[in-house]
Amino acid sequence: MGKEFVYDQGAFRSLLEDLLFTYASEQGKQWLDGKLGQYAAQFVKSQFNATFSAIPRFVGKQVITLSTQEAEKLDALVPGFSALPLSIDRLARTWWILQVPTNNEDQYITTIEPLFLAAEMNELVTLYRALPLLAFPSHWTHLTSEGIRSNIASVQDAVMLQNPYPASYLNENAWNQLVLKAIFTNKPVHQIIGLDERANASLALVLSDYAHERWAAGRTVDPMLWRLVGPFINEKNLPDITRVLQAENNVEREAAALACAAADYPPAKTLLQQSNLAQAVENGSLTWNTVASRLI
């Protein structure tokens, strides 16, 4: 397993330090400083764990509103990091886990992994948001799948949305579970990083089955689902797209048009040309982003 960080760890850490310096109270900073001193002098795992848990007690938990410049700097290093609400405890906890030395893989993993196992809700959110920051990146796929299985909405969001880790490291099955669960739990699917890049034929197949189930139950289907089916339209699912293109709801018709535009299958192209949305797709006034903005 490679241990290299896939981002500039030094730059990210010092950026976090700058933010803590800006947003933490004097008292909170002193407490963190003291803990870092103890930690540097001698590593005691129970101390490390207690500090991780106790951070909100001493540093607070207020929500931070970053300046555009600060958010851009963070996201330039780790895409999406600033996207979900950021609080002072999450900054401090993220900074704290970045202190763990990476010279011994086994020690690194046995320090970080138990944090997941004993985590409360906010800790889980912090840990899952930190997935792209951890060393030995391929080790964390199992825990990522556990996070996707979670029924806690904020934890699901932390793993699924604006997080570059899953697209880079999950295998196809695990990735497909993530997307399915996101659709199933009404997430804003367009916020999944790598959504189009990791679209695949078996996911498209499962999703059209899922749409059929919803229709049979008299329930609605997230129009964004067709974004993942589009590149894999074939003679089998063409009737689905045809149906959606005739839906009563505008946004559903728009999604079907965009799906047709992404297809390799000529009859889908023909279908699009026959619809009155062809021009909007052509001139770029209709995109998945405009569909997404209508769904919110």
Partner: protein, 328 residues
């Protein structure tokens, strides 16, 4: 924990409800400082929210089935600060917990040692408002050993202690619990003595401890008796809870008792102290209770909304029509 008394024909007959009690307490807010929601259904959460319960404390306790490994303890504690907290938030109820090794399972020494090792992992977590529920069950030497060890832990972490007092030999068990707490140098104002009755309350209050009463059918307090206790002792230092769990118990015990107190002309101020404020005052000594959070959790949809996107919309549970034959 129910049904130890002799059943008569009368006990088996349907009970006529005193309709309209909820009207009596409309607009009041309640804090139930002892309720085991892990053992309850979503219907209970909804009913509690409807009756005005805004926040609760779930003490760590015995699950009915003895645990055989430390991992199940860890998962239980993690669920108290994780899954159950989320479940509660879906109904707009702020969920806190106390963490501890219960007295029954303290008798499994080998396991108790392992549990003591993992407790520090949990007691500093957000929303952990005390060490509890700990104390005596059979009053064995091992129960005493781990009760003492956990008092030390509470002292070190500066956390309140929630004491479970035994069903059998209650009066002596309660006295002994207090004596030992004093011996370990705990401030009585940091200790909540639970499951009091008419026999124990006076000494508990006189010694400066908080006196909690559990309104629980058959084995603990009934709420008509509770009304009499408040008439006699007032509201200072007294709080009530439901301790609702997997036995026949009532998660609405706190609002129901408030309604009954009101019907018996106990003042609104006294009712508020006993059903809301005293518990907050006692457990807020942990530094973990902010009453502003009671409102925040009600607005989970809005408060976690971010830049107008659906991100983190935790989602309150949609209502279903309970009396409809249709399930959709």
């Amino acid at each position: 924990m129910c049904c130890s008394h002799q059943l008569s024909e009368k006990d088996l007959q349907p009970i006529t409800a005193q309709a309209g009690w909820q009207e009596n307490i409309k607009g009041m807010r309640f804090f139930d400082p002892h309720v085991h929601m892990t053992a309850r259904t979503t219907d209970d959460y909804q009913a509690m929210a409807d009756a005005g319960v805004v926040a609760i404390i779930e003490p760590a306790f015995w699950l009915g089935q003895p645990r055989t490994g430390v991992d199940t303890f860890r998962d239980y504690y993690a669920s108290l600060v994780g899954w159950e907290r989320f479940r509660s938030s879906q109904f707009g109820i702020k969920h806190y917990c106390t963490i501890g090794l219960n007295s029954k399972e303290a008798n499994n020494e080998k396991l108790a040692e392992q549990v003591m090792e993992i407790l520090p992992l949990f007691i500093y977590k957000e929303g952990v408002v005390g060490i509890g529920e700990i104390g005596f069950d059979d009053q064995t030497a091992l129960e005493e050993k781990y009760y003492r060890a956990q008092l030390e832990l509470a002292k070190e972490a500066n956390l309140p202690v929630q004491i479970h007092t035994p069903h059998r030999d209650k009066k002596k068990g309660t006295q002994r619990s207090m004596d030992i707490a004093i011996e370990h140098g705990l401030d009585p104002a940091m200790v909540i003595v639970d499951h009091n009755n008419e026999e124990t309350v006076k000494e508990v209050l006189d010694r400066g401890f908080w006196a909690a009463f559990t309104i629980y059918p058959f084995t603990k307090m009934g709420n008509e008796r509770m009304v009499e206790v408040v008439k006699q002792y007032g509201s200072k230092g007294i709080m009530i809870n439901s301790a609702a769990d997997w036995g026949i118990s009532d998660p609405l015990a706190v609002p129901k008792t408030a309604a009954l107190m009101k019907a018996h002309n106990i003042s609104i101020q006294d009712i508020e102290l006993v059903t809301y404020q005293n518990a907050i005052t006692a457990f807020a000594q942990s530094g973990q209770i902010d009453v502003a959070d009671f409102d925040a959790v009600k607005n989970i949809d809005q408060s976690l909304d971010y830049n107008g996107s659906r991100v983190l919309r935790g989602g309150q549970q949609p209502r279903i029509a309970k009396d409809s034959i249709f399930i959709r």
